[in-house]
Symmetry: C2
Subunit: 198 residues, 2 copies
DNA sequence: CAACAATGCTGTCAATGACAACAATGGTGG
DNA sequence: CCACCATTGTTGTCATTGACAGCATTGTTG
Protein backbone atom coordinates (compact mmCIF):
# COMPACT_ATOMS: atom_id res chain seq x y z
CA UNK A 1 0.00 0.00 0.00
CA UNK A 2 1.98 2.99 -1.20
CA UNK A 3 -0.65 5.42 0.07
CA UNK A 4 0.19 4.73 3.71
CA UNK A 5 2.78 7.08 5.12
CA UNK A 6 6.10 5.40 5.84
CA UNK A 7 6.92 4.95 9.47
CA UNK A 8 9.77 7.38 9.26
CA UNK A 9 8.84 10.79 8.03
CA UNK A 10 12.13 11.63 6.40
CA UNK A 11 12.61 15.16 7.64
CA UNK A 12 10.08 15.69 10.36
CA UNK A 13 12.08 18.38 12.06
CA UNK A 14 12.09 20.64 9.05
CA UNK A 15 8.44 19.90 8.36
CA UNK A 16 7.52 20.84 11.92
CA UNK A 17 9.47 24.08 11.70
CA UNK A 18 7.79 24.96 8.43
CA UNK A 19 4.35 24.23 9.79
CA UNK A 20 5.11 26.04 13.02
CA UNK A 21 6.22 29.17 11.25
CA UNK A 22 3.08 29.08 9.18
CA UNK A 23 0.76 29.02 12.16
CA UNK A 24 2.98 31.56 13.90
CA UNK A 25 2.52 33.92 10.99
CA UNK A 26 -1.18 33.24 10.54
CA UNK A 27 -2.44 32.85 14.09
CA UNK A 28 0.29 34.12 16.37
CA UNK A 29 2.48 32.43 18.92
CA UNK A 30 -0.39 31.84 21.30
CA UNK A 31 -2.02 29.46 18.85
CA UNK A 32 1.10 27.32 18.59
CA UNK A 33 0.56 23.91 20.13
CA UNK A 34 2.85 20.94 19.77
CA UNK A 35 -0.09 18.59 19.48
CA UNK A 36 -1.85 20.64 16.85
CA UNK A 37 1.44 20.88 15.01
CA UNK A 38 1.77 17.12 15.08
CA UNK A 39 -1.77 16.76 13.78
CA UNK A 40 -1.13 19.11 10.87
CA UNK A 41 2.04 17.26 10.00
CA UNK A 42 0.30 13.91 10.23
CA UNK A 43 2.36 12.39 13.01
CA UNK A 44 1.52 11.29 16.52
CA UNK A 45 1.20 13.77 19.33
CA UNK A 46 4.54 12.81 20.86
CA UNK A 47 6.60 12.74 17.69
CA UNK A 48 7.68 16.39 17.94
CA UNK A 49 9.24 15.54 21.27
CA UNK A 50 11.94 13.58 19.44
CA UNK A 51 13.13 16.72 17.71
CA UNK A 52 12.33 19.39 20.27
CA UNK A 53 12.87 18.62 23.91
CA UNK A 54 10.42 21.32 24.85
CA UNK A 55 7.93 23.69 23.42
CA UNK A 56 10.49 26.35 24.22
CA UNK A 57 13.06 24.42 22.22
CA UNK A 58 10.80 24.66 19.20
CA UNK A 59 10.34 28.38 19.72
CA UNK A 60 14.09 28.81 20.08
CA UNK A 61 14.65 26.91 16.86
CA UNK A 62 12.13 29.13 15.11
CA UNK A 63 13.87 32.22 16.46
CA UNK A 64 17.27 30.96 15.40
CA UNK A 65 15.97 30.24 11.94
CA UNK A 66 14.58 33.75 11.83
CA UNK A 67 17.93 35.23 12.80
CA UNK A 68 19.68 33.24 10.09
CA UNK A 69 17.40 34.54 7.39
CA UNK A 70 17.47 38.06 8.76
CA UNK A 71 21.25 38.11 9.06
CA UNK A 72 21.53 36.95 5.49
CA UNK A 73 19.32 39.83 4.39
CA UNK A 74 21.28 42.29 6.51
CA UNK A 75 24.62 41.09 5.22
CA UNK A 76 23.41 41.39 1.64
CA UNK A 77 22.05 44.87 2.20
CA UNK A 78 25.14 46.12 4.00
CA UNK A 79 27.64 44.88 1.43
CA UNK A 80 27.65 47.86 -0.93
CA UNK A 81 31.13 49.38 -0.60
CA UNK A 82 30.57 51.81 -3.42
CA UNK A 83 27.81 53.76 -1.76
CA UNK A 84 27.95 56.55 0.78
CA UNK A 85 27.40 55.90 4.45
CA UNK A 86 23.96 57.40 4.34
CA UNK A 87 22.98 55.23 1.40
CA UNK A 88 24.37 52.09 2.97
CA UNK A 89 22.75 52.77 6.30
CA UNK A 90 19.45 53.41 4.59
CA UNK A 91 19.74 50.13 2.73
CA UNK A 92 20.50 48.31 5.96
CA UNK A 93 17.60 50.01 7.67
CA UNK A 94 15.29 49.12 4.82
CA UNK A 95 16.36 45.48 5.04
CA UNK A 96 15.83 45.34 8.78
CA UNK A 97 12.46 47.05 8.79
CA UNK A 98 11.39 45.04 5.78
CA UNK A 99 11.99 41.88 7.76
CA UNK A 100 10.11 43.34 10.71
CA UNK A 101 7.14 44.20 8.54
CA UNK A 102 6.99 40.79 6.93
CA UNK A 103 7.58 38.72 10.06
CA UNK A 104 6.39 40.66 13.09
CA UNK A 105 5.43 37.58 15.10
CA UNK A 106 8.73 35.92 14.34
CA UNK A 107 10.53 39.07 15.38
CA UNK A 108 8.63 39.03 18.64
CA UNK A 109 9.90 35.50 19.23
CA UNK A 110 13.44 36.55 18.39
CA UNK A 111 13.24 39.39 20.91
CA UNK A 112 11.73 37.22 23.61
CA UNK A 113 13.64 37.08 26.85
CA UNK A 114 13.03 33.45 27.72
CA UNK A 115 15.25 30.95 26.03
CA UNK A 116 16.64 27.62 27.00
CA UNK A 117 20.18 27.85 28.31
CA UNK A 118 21.21 25.61 25.41
CA UNK A 119 19.76 27.77 22.69
CA UNK A 120 20.69 31.04 24.30
CA UNK A 121 24.31 30.73 23.29
CA UNK A 122 23.39 30.17 19.66
CA UNK A 123 20.86 32.96 19.80
CA UNK A 124 23.35 35.32 21.37
CA UNK A 125 25.75 34.54 18.55
CA UNK A 126 23.01 35.26 16.04
CA UNK A 127 22.29 38.60 17.70
CA UNK A 128 25.98 39.41 17.62
CA UNK A 129 26.02 38.68 13.93
CA UNK A 130 23.11 41.05 13.39
CA UNK A 131 24.97 43.75 15.26
CA UNK A 132 28.02 42.84 13.24
CA UNK A 133 26.39 44.03 10.03
CA UNK A 134 25.95 47.43 11.61
CA UNK A 135 29.34 47.55 13.31
CA UNK A 136 31.08 46.71 10.05
CA UNK A 137 29.34 49.56 8.31
CA UNK A 138 30.06 51.99 11.13
CA UNK A 139 33.73 51.05 11.38
CA UNK A 140 34.13 51.33 7.64
CA UNK A 141 32.50 54.75 7.60
CA UNK A 142 34.75 55.88 10.41
CA UNK A 143 37.81 54.87 8.41
CA UNK A 144 36.53 56.87 5.49
CA UNK A 145 35.90 59.81 7.78
CA UNK A 146 32.21 59.81 6.92
CA UNK A 147 31.08 59.75 10.52
CA UNK A 148 32.29 60.85 13.91
CA UNK A 149 35.14 59.02 15.64
CA UNK A 150 34.68 57.17 18.91
CA UNK A 151 33.97 53.66 20.14
CA UNK A 152 32.40 51.90 17.14
CA UNK A 153 30.39 49.64 19.41
CA UNK A 154 28.77 52.62 21.04
CA UNK A 155 28.04 54.41 17.80
CA UNK A 156 26.61 51.20 16.43
CA UNK A 157 24.35 51.01 19.44
CA UNK A 158 22.89 54.43 18.66
CA UNK A 159 22.15 53.53 15.06
CA UNK A 160 20.99 49.98 15.73
CA UNK A 161 18.83 50.90 18.73
CA UNK A 162 17.07 53.51 16.66
CA UNK A 163 16.13 51.00 14.00
CA UNK A 164 15.40 48.32 16.56
CA UNK A 165 13.00 50.71 18.22
CA UNK A 166 11.16 51.26 14.95
CA UNK A 167 11.04 47.51 14.37
CA UNK A 168 9.73 46.90 17.86
CA UNK A 169 7.06 49.57 17.43
CA UNK A 170 5.98 47.97 14.19
CA UNK A 171 5.95 44.51 15.71
CA UNK A 172 3.83 45.71 18.61
CA UNK A 173 1.40 47.47 16.27
CA UNK A 174 2.23 50.84 17.84
CA UNK A 175 3.41 52.13 14.49
CA UNK A 176 2.06 51.63 10.99
CA UNK A 177 4.51 49.80 8.79
CA UNK A 178 3.85 52.12 5.83
CA UNK A 179 4.48 55.14 7.97
CA UNK A 180 7.79 53.82 9.22
CA UNK A 181 8.97 52.80 5.76
CA UNK A 182 7.89 56.08 4.21
CA UNK A 183 9.83 58.09 6.79
CA UNK A 184 12.90 55.89 6.76
CA UNK A 185 15.09 58.05 4.54
CA UNK A 186 14.34 61.09 6.65
CA UNK A 187 14.90 59.04 9.79
CA UNK A 188 18.39 58.04 8.73
CA UNK A 189 19.10 61.61 7.66
CA UNK A 190 18.11 62.87 11.10
CA UNK A 191 20.32 60.26 12.73
CA UNK A 192 23.21 61.38 10.60
CA UNK A 193 22.71 65.11 10.97
CA UNK A 194 21.34 65.20 14.49
CA UNK A 195 18.38 66.98 15.97
CA UNK A 196 20.29 70.21 16.50
CA UNK A 197 19.21 73.11 14.31
CA UNK A 198 21.50 73.77 11.38
CA UNK B 1 -14.58 32.41 64.08
CA UNK B 2 -12.85 35.61 63.15
CA UNK B 3 -9.89 33.72 61.67
CA UNK B 4 -11.90 32.51 58.70
CA UNK B 5 -11.70 34.70 55.68
CA UNK B 6 -14.91 36.57 54.91
CA UNK B 7 -16.82 35.40 51.90
CA UNK B 8 -16.12 38.59 50.03
CA UNK B 9 -12.51 39.43 49.68
CA UNK B 10 -12.90 43.17 49.63
CA UNK B 11 -10.60 44.06 46.79
CA UNK B 12 -9.81 40.85 45.03
CA UNK B 13 -9.08 42.52 41.73
CA UNK B 14 -6.31 44.65 43.15
CA UNK B 15 -4.96 41.73 45.15
CA UNK B 16 -4.84 39.58 42.03
CA UNK B 17 -3.03 42.29 40.08
CA UNK B 18 -0.50 42.71 42.87
CA UNK B 19 0.13 39.01 43.10
CA UNK B 20 0.28 38.66 39.34
CA UNK B 21 2.84 41.37 39.00
CA UNK B 22 4.90 39.72 41.68
CA UNK B 23 5.07 36.38 39.93
CA UNK B 24 5.57 38.19 36.64
CA UNK B 25 8.62 39.90 38.07
CA UNK B 26 9.96 36.84 39.83
CA UNK B 27 9.17 34.01 37.45
CA UNK B 28 8.21 35.57 34.15
CA UNK B 29 4.99 35.68 32.21
CA UNK B 30 5.18 31.99 31.37
CA UNK B 31 4.72 31.06 35.01
CA UNK B 32 1.55 33.12 35.31
CA UNK B 33 -1.47 30.89 35.82
CA UNK B 34 -4.90 32.03 36.86
CA UNK B 35 -5.34 29.02 39.10
CA UNK B 36 -1.99 29.44 40.80
CA UNK B 37 -2.81 33.10 41.23
CA UNK B 38 -6.10 32.18 42.88
CA UNK B 39 -4.28 29.76 45.18
CA UNK B 40 -1.77 32.38 46.27
CA UNK B 41 -4.55 34.84 46.94
CA UNK B 42 -6.54 32.27 48.87
CA UNK B 43 -9.64 32.19 46.69
CA UNK B 44 -11.22 29.52 44.57
CA UNK B 45 -9.89 28.71 41.14
CA UNK B 46 -12.76 30.45 39.36
CA UNK B 47 -12.82 33.62 41.41
CA UNK B 48 -10.42 35.51 39.14
CA UNK B 49 -12.87 34.98 36.32
CA UNK B 50 -15.22 37.47 37.97
CA UNK B 51 -12.67 40.23 37.56
CA UNK B 52 -10.88 39.18 34.39
CA UNK B 53 -12.89 37.67 31.59
CA UNK B 54 -9.77 36.03 30.26
CA UNK B 55 -6.18 35.37 31.03
CA UNK B 56 -5.46 37.93 28.33
CA UNK B 57 -7.68 40.40 30.15
CA UNK B 58 -5.47 40.03 33.21
CA UNK B 59 -2.35 40.55 31.14
CA UNK B 60 -3.90 43.60 29.53
CA UNK B 61 -4.76 45.00 32.93
CA UNK B 62 -1.19 44.42 34.05
CA UNK B 63 0.10 46.17 30.96
CA UNK B 64 -2.24 49.09 31.44
CA UNK B 65 -1.17 49.44 35.03
CA UNK B 66 2.42 49.43 33.85
CA UNK B 67 1.73 52.19 31.36
CA UNK B 68 0.09 54.30 34.02
CA UNK B 69 3.06 54.09 36.32
CA UNK B 70 5.51 54.61 33.49
CA UNK B 71 3.65 57.57 32.10
CA UNK B 72 3.63 59.14 35.51
CA UNK B 73 7.40 58.72 35.71
CA UNK B 74 7.83 60.09 32.20
CA UNK B 75 5.63 63.09 32.85
CA UNK B 76 7.53 63.89 36.05
CA UNK B 77 10.89 63.56 34.32
CA UNK B 78 9.89 65.67 31.34
CA UNK B 79 8.45 68.55 33.29
CA UNK B 80 11.59 70.59 33.83
CA UNK B 81 11.07 73.79 31.83
CA UNK B 82 14.20 75.40 33.18
CA UNK B 83 16.63 72.93 31.68
CA UNK B 84 18.09 72.72 28.22
CA UNK B 85 16.71 70.32 25.64
CA UNK B 86 19.64 67.98 26.06
CA UNK B 87 19.20 67.91 29.81
CA UNK B 88 15.48 67.34 29.57
CA UNK B 89 15.82 64.64 26.97
CA UNK B 90 18.44 62.93 29.07
CA UNK B 91 16.16 63.05 32.09
CA UNK B 92 13.32 61.58 30.05
CA UNK B 93 15.61 58.88 28.68
CA UNK B 94 16.82 58.05 32.15
CA UNK B 95 13.26 57.72 33.38
CA UNK B 96 12.27 55.46 30.51
CA UNK B 97 15.29 53.21 30.70
CA UNK B 98 15.04 53.13 34.45
CA UNK B 99 11.57 51.72 34.14
CA UNK B 100 12.79 49.22 31.56
CA UNK B 101 15.58 48.06 33.84
CA UNK B 102 13.30 47.65 36.83
CA UNK B 103 10.39 46.02 35.04
CA UNK B 104 11.66 44.19 31.98
CA UNK B 105 8.98 41.50 32.04
CA UNK B 106 6.25 44.06 32.47
CA UNK B 107 7.67 46.04 29.59
CA UNK B 108 7.56 42.92 27.48
CA UNK B 109 3.87 42.60 28.28
CA UNK B 110 3.30 46.25 27.43
CA UNK B 111 4.97 45.75 24.07
CA UNK B 112 3.09 42.56 23.29
CA UNK B 113 1.10 42.56 20.10
CA UNK B 114 -1.88 40.54 21.30
CA UNK B 115 -4.48 42.40 23.24
CA UNK B 116 -8.18 42.08 23.63
CA UNK B 117 -10.10 44.43 21.38
CA UNK B 118 -11.57 45.96 24.53
CA UNK B 119 -8.27 46.73 26.17
CA UNK B 120 -6.49 47.73 23.02
CA UNK B 121 -8.19 51.11 22.92
CA UNK B 122 -7.11 51.90 26.46
CA UNK B 123 -3.64 50.60 25.76
CA UNK B 124 -3.37 52.64 22.59
CA UNK B 125 -4.32 55.71 24.59
CA UNK B 126 -1.64 54.86 27.13
CA UNK B 127 0.95 54.50 24.38
CA UNK B 128 -0.14 57.85 22.99
CA UNK B 129 0.37 59.39 26.37
CA UNK B 130 3.88 57.96 26.55
CA UNK B 131 4.64 59.45 23.18
CA UNK B 132 3.05 62.65 24.36
CA UNK B 133 5.76 63.20 26.93
CA UNK B 134 8.30 63.12 24.15
CA UNK B 135 6.25 65.14 21.68
CA UNK B 136 5.69 67.87 24.26
CA UNK B 137 9.41 68.14 24.86
CA UNK B 138 10.22 68.15 21.16
CA UNK B 139 7.61 70.77 20.31
CA UNK B 140 8.77 72.95 23.16
CA UNK B 141 12.38 72.68 22.06
CA UNK B 142 11.38 73.56 18.52
CA UNK B 143 9.68 76.71 19.74
CA UNK B 144 12.81 77.66 21.60
CA UNK B 145 14.88 76.97 18.50
CA UNK B 146 16.90 74.32 20.31
CA UNK B 147 16.30 71.66 17.67
CA UNK B 148 15.62 71.39 13.99
CA UNK B 149 12.23 72.36 12.59
CA UNK B 150 9.93 69.87 10.90
CA UNK B 151 7.03 67.61 11.73
CA UNK B 152 7.21 67.21 15.53
CA UNK B 153 5.64 63.78 15.30
CA UNK B 154 8.39 62.59 13.05
CA UNK B 155 11.18 64.06 15.09
CA UNK B 156 9.63 62.54 18.17
CA UNK B 157 9.67 59.19 16.44
CA UNK B 158 13.41 59.41 15.91
CA UNK B 159 14.10 60.24 19.54
CA UNK B 160 11.54 57.86 21.00
CA UNK B 161 12.44 54.95 18.74
CA UNK B 162 16.04 55.28 19.73
CA UNK B 163 15.23 54.98 23.42
CA UNK B 164 12.60 52.35 22.79
CA UNK B 165 15.22 50.31 20.99
CA UNK B 166 17.53 50.51 23.98
CA UNK B 167 14.67 49.54 26.28
CA UNK B 168 13.76 46.60 24.07
CA UNK B 169 17.35 45.42 23.95
CA UNK B 170 17.54 45.58 27.72
CA UNK B 171 14.24 43.77 28.11
CA UNK B 172 15.38 41.02 25.78
CA UNK B 173 18.70 40.67 27.57
CA UNK B 174 20.60 41.64 24.44
CA UNK B 175 22.11 44.60 26.27
CA UNK B 176 23.40 44.98 29.79
CA UNK B 177 21.38 47.48 31.77
CA UNK B 178 24.48 49.06 33.30
CA UNK B 179 26.04 49.51 29.91
CA UNK B 180 22.98 51.24 28.52
CA UNK B 181 22.61 53.53 31.52
CA UNK B 182 26.30 54.37 31.56
CA UNK B 183 26.27 55.40 27.92
CA UNK B 184 22.98 57.26 28.06
CA UNK B 185 24.36 60.78 28.22
CA UNK B 186 26.61 60.11 25.26
CA UNK B 187 23.70 58.43 23.47
CA UNK B 188 21.52 61.52 23.78
CA UNK B 189 24.43 63.70 22.76
CA UNK B 190 24.92 61.67 19.60
CA UNK B 191 21.23 61.91 18.83
CA UNK B 192 21.40 65.65 19.20
CA UNK B 193 24.62 66.21 17.26
CA UNK B 194 24.30 63.44 14.73
CA UNK B 195 26.75 60.82 13.54
CA UNK B 196 28.32 63.15 11.01
CA UNK B 197 31.91 64.21 11.78
CA UNK B 198 32.27 67.70 13.15
C1' DC C 1 -37.53 43.45 53.94
C1' DA C 2 -37.58 41.63 49.51
C1' DA C 3 -35.67 41.49 45.03
C1' DC C 4 -31.35 41.74 42.79
C1' DA C 5 -26.71 42.55 41.25
C1' DA C 6 -22.12 41.50 42.50
C1' DT C 7 -18.98 38.29 43.87
C1' DG C 8 -17.32 33.88 45.33
C1' DC C 9 -17.57 28.54 45.23
C1' DT C 10 -17.81 23.72 43.40
C1' DG C 11 -17.90 20.79 39.56
C1' DT C 12 -16.67 19.71 35.12
C1' DC C 13 -14.56 19.57 30.36
C1' DA C 14 -11.36 19.57 26.63
C1' DA C 15 -6.75 20.87 25.44
C1' DT C 16 -2.20 20.77 26.39
C1' DG C 17 2.82 19.61 27.60
C1' DA C 18 5.47 16.19 29.38
C1' DC C 19 6.83 11.70 30.18
C1' DA C 20 7.21 6.44 30.03
C1' DA C 21 7.05 2.20 27.74
C1' DC C 22 6.90 0.04 23.43
C1' DA C 23 7.50 -0.63 18.14
C1' DA C 24 9.38 0.02 13.69
C1' DT C 25 13.24 1.35 10.92
C1' DG C 26 17.76 1.47 9.13
C1' DG C 27 22.62 1.38 9.51
C1' DT C 28 26.85 -1.15 10.97
C1' DG C 29 30.20 -4.37 12.46
C1' DG C 30 30.96 -9.27 12.73
C1' DC D 1 23.88 -11.95 5.67
C1' DC D 2 22.46 -10.89 10.04
C1' DA D 3 22.37 -9.54 14.88
C1' DC D 4 22.82 -5.52 17.45
C1' DC D 5 21.54 -0.89 18.49
C1' DA D 6 20.66 4.07 17.94
C1' DT D 7 17.09 6.78 15.86
C1' DT D 8 12.66 8.00 15.35
C1' DG D 9 7.58 7.25 15.75
C1' DT D 10 3.52 5.39 18.47
C1' DT D 11 0.29 4.63 22.21
C1' DG D 12 -0.97 5.45 26.82
C1' DT D 13 -1.16 8.25 30.71
C1' DC D 14 -0.88 12.18 34.04
C1' DA D 15 -1.21 16.73 36.16
C1' DT D 16 -2.11 21.38 34.97
C1' DT D 17 -4.60 24.70 32.96
C1' DG D 18 -8.32 27.96 31.04
C1' DA D 19 -12.97 28.23 30.47
C1' DC D 20 -17.59 27.64 31.54
C1' DA D 21 -22.08 26.35 34.02
C1' DG D 22 -24.72 26.26 38.02
C1' DC D 23 -25.18 27.29 42.76
C1' DA D 24 -24.26 30.03 47.26
C1' DT D 25 -23.42 34.13 49.78
C1' DT D 26 -23.32 38.93 50.44
C1' DG D 27 -24.65 43.72 50.39
C1' DT D 28 -27.47 47.18 48.26
C1' DT D 29 -31.46 49.45 46.88
C1' DG D 30 -36.14 50.32 46.19
Amino acid sequence: MPTSRPYHHGDLRAALLRSAERTLREKGVGALSLRELARETGVSHAAPGRHFKDKQALLDALALDGYERMNQALAAAGDRPGLSFEERMTALARAYLGFAVEHPELLELMFARKHHPDSSAQLAAAVDQSFGSFTALIADAQERGEIVQGDPEHITLVAAASLHGLAALIASCALEADEALAGLDEHVRLLLHGLRPR
